[in-house]
């Protein structure tokens, strides 16, 4: 799994590629924790190249979301493929987390 970070105007974009499972989620967790520690609270996450997600991957977003919201930020996911989106839907997380179709919709939430 690979995560590319791009700093935009007022937000941080994370592009996740590969599989987010019990093994790789440790790294993803570190990246998001570091963003929080450096006070980057508005995060958009491009999942276009995210092939697979397990519960450990979901846990990365679920465990941090409250911290970001408390600081007037959020984690916004977009470009999810059907397989990945279906995992969020199975647990009803699609209606709890912010999941949008594309990057412009994700950015619009922070404008």
């Amino acid at each position: 799994m690979k995560i590319v970070q791009d700093k935009g105007e007022g937000f941080l974009k994370l592009s996740i590629a590969g599989d987010l499972d019990a093994n790789s989620s440790i790294y993803a967790d570190e990246v998001i924790q570091k963003a929080f520690d450096t006070k980057q609270f508005k995060i958009i996450i491009d999942c276009k190249q995210l092939n697979y997600i397990s519960s450990a991957g979901l846990g990365v977003f679920v465990s941090h979301i409250d911290n970001f919201k408390t600081n007037k930020g959020d984690l916004v996911l977009y470009n999810l493929n059907n397989n990945v989106l279906d995992v969020f839907k199975t647990l009803g997380l699609d209606s709890i987390l912010k999941i949008v179709t594309n990057e412009s919709d994700a950015r619009a939430l922070f404008n």
């Binding site: 599989d19 499972d21 019990a22 093994n23 989620s25 967790d29 697979y52 397990s54 519960s55 450990a56 979901l58 846990g59 990365v60 679920v62 465990s63 941090h64 979301i65 409250d66 911290n67 059907n82 397989n83 279906d86 995992v87 199975t90 647990l91 009803g92 997380l93 709890i96």
Partner: protein, 145 residues
């Protein structure tokens, strides 16, 4: 007496080293076998997810990520049902209701990183049974199609 054996579509047994890095190899190994099941793509993806979740539990909670231990996966797909048995070398008691009763709102509030795997597994498979036998944890899952 003549014993009739139920015909199966595919059958495989895999033994993996008890480390999280083994999970990707395990998924790659079983993906091709799951692909031949007579179910739609969404269900195939969910079965692969269930298998991954159960193996992760065995590695992390059963064997405590001890790389000297192993996890074995027995995968048998019959014409109309799938049976998966996963064994580790631990002897933990799985309290399924503790995890299944939790709402996602409480998981978020408590900033939990884990505890959602069992919920996913139970939403996909028809039946999941955990038991201990000869100092091994056994997770037996079935799904009809």
């Amino acid at each position: 007496m003549k014993v009739m054996l139920e015909p199966y579509l595919t059958r495989a047994k895999l033994c993996i080293v008890s480390k999280k890095e083994s999970l990707a190899d395990c998924r790659a190994f079983f993906k091709g076998r799951i692909d031949i099941l007579p179910v739609d793509t969404t269900t195939k993806n969910k079965i692969l997810l269930t298998l991954d979740e159960a193996c992760a539990n065995a590695i992390i909670h059963g064997n405590c990520c001890d790389e000297n231990q192993f996890v074995t996966i027995d995968f048998t797909a019959y014409k109309n049902k799938l049976e998966i048995t996963i064994k580790d070398n631990g002897s933990m008691l799985v309290n399924t209701s503790e995890h299944l009763d939790k709402t996602m709102e409480s998981v978020i509030k408590n900033k939990q990183k884990g505890g959602m795997g069992l919920k996913l597994m139970h939403s996909i498979m028809d039946d999941i049974v955990y038991f201990s036998e000869e100092k091994r944890n056994i997770c037996k899952m079935t799904k009809a199609y």
